[in-house]
Every structure is written in C-alpha cells, then in structure tokens.
Amino acid sequence: MIIGGILVITRKNAVHSAMALITTLLAQAGIYLMLYAPFVAGVQIILYAGGIMVLFLFVIMLISIERNMKERQFNKQWLVGIAAAAALGGLFIAVYTKGKSLFPEGRLNFDEAQNTQGVAALLYDQHQGMYMFSFEIASLLLLVAIIGAVVMAKKRI
C-alpha cells in the first residue's frame, strides 16, 4: 500500500497514477478484511475502486494529457512542501512513540457473519440505531453533488 502511494505521487503519466491508486485502494480493502470489517471492504471495492477511480479515468481521458507530460512535473515550491510534510511526520512520530502504551493488545475472535447485521443495526434499528439522520443528510449531500457536477460541466448554463 505504501508502494502504491509512492507511485501515485511520483508518476509522470496520470493514468499510471490512477492505476497505482486503484492498487492502493484494493490493498486497503484487504487491510479492512484483516480488521474484521468485511462490509467496509466491500463498500470500498464497489464505491471507491469501482466508481470514483472510473470517474477519474474518464476525466483523465477527456482532457488531453500528452502535452502536459512533456512539461515539468513538480511544483516550484516542492522543497517547502516536503519540509512541511516532514514536520508533520515528526509530529506523528512524537505522538506515536509517546502514546504507545495507550493501546493494549488483545486477541479478539468475533466471527464475521454478524458484521453486516451490526452495521445495519447501527444505521437502521429503532432501539440501537443512531445514524439515521446522518444517513439522510448523506443522501442529500449526494443530490447536491450531482446537481453541482452537472451545472459545473455544462457548456451553457
């Protein structure tokens, strides 16, 4: 997954970056399976790797990239960007080495057959579910995003 991420940010060809991002997303779905979350892994493969990346590839093929590949690829302020990211990385290292004792290691053995029911219970159940309002708001967000994308990409409004 790390190699996929490095390939995303360093490739010259945008289609190569998109392919590397697809492999990163598939590797991430595998890690979700390691974390005993099969529903999120399925949602990731269907939505992210099968929807969003296809949208990216459509747009990459729509705008002409060959002329862009001969130009300079990295920004003028790439040193400052890498310095800022190194500062952020130092912050992460400081937090994770100081707080290493906060997460005890336990071996859990729940079967995965109850996972989808558990997620659905949190979303939809009457006594247990608390995410129904967020679910409706998310559908409203998708409606607004559809209208926005259609209006932005039209030729004449």
Partner: protein, 108 residues
C-alpha cells in the same frame, strides 16, 4: 510472529496521510492533486476502522461506530471527487491547461 496491534494500523494510516500531503503540496497536475486528496481520505478511513476494532474489544461485537463513520466518509469522498472533477473540466474549458501554477487569474 509479531502481533499486529492497533498502533501498527495507526502508523500505516499516518504514513499514507503523509504521502497524500506530499502529493497535494508538490505536484503540478490538478488530477494528481485530487488523487492525493483521495489518499488522505483513505488514511483517515484506516484510522477509523482500526479504532472501531479496538472499541469492539472493549464494548462487545456490535460497537461498530468507526465502520459506520468510514462508510459515510467514503460517500462524502465520492461526492467531493465528482464536484472537484466538474470544476476541473469547467476550468480546462477556459484555459486549456491542467497545471495549478497557471491558475493565477486572481493574483494581485
């Protein structure tokens, strides 16, 4: 063999986040910047699901709040990618370039 605890997943999430931040700050091509933003969102999702697993160990097998949050983040990332690409297409129709350096119409 080494037992993979929650901390290992968090460090992996932090590494992916750093790669996404470097991609956003460094590249000139707008499409690759948008893909780096998707990398950042994936790193956050990994953190959420790792913590949901940790919470499951304390509160029982139905404490799946992190996974529900991760599903909402994936939905939100889809909406944002669609609108971002729409803006990119509208901008490309005007100026015929996909470099961020040349988006300087509002510069003083």
């Amino acid at each position: 063999m080494l037992h993979i605890s929650t901390l290992h997943y968090l460090v992996l999430g932090a590494a992916l986040f750093l790669l996404g931040v470097i991609g956003v700050l460094t590249r000139r091509n707008v499409v690759i910047v948008l893909m780096s933003i998707e990398l950042i969102l994936n790193a956050v999702n990994l953190n959420l699901v790792a913590f949901s697993r940790y919470w499951q160990g304390i509160h029982g097998p139905t404490a799946l709040h992190g996974q529900v949050f991760a599903i909402f983040v994936i939905t939100d990332a889809a909406a944002e990618a669609a609108v971002g690409l729409g803006i990119l297409i509208a901008f490309f129709r005007n100026k015929e370039t996909v470099n961020i350096d040349e988006v300087n119409l509002l510069k003083w």
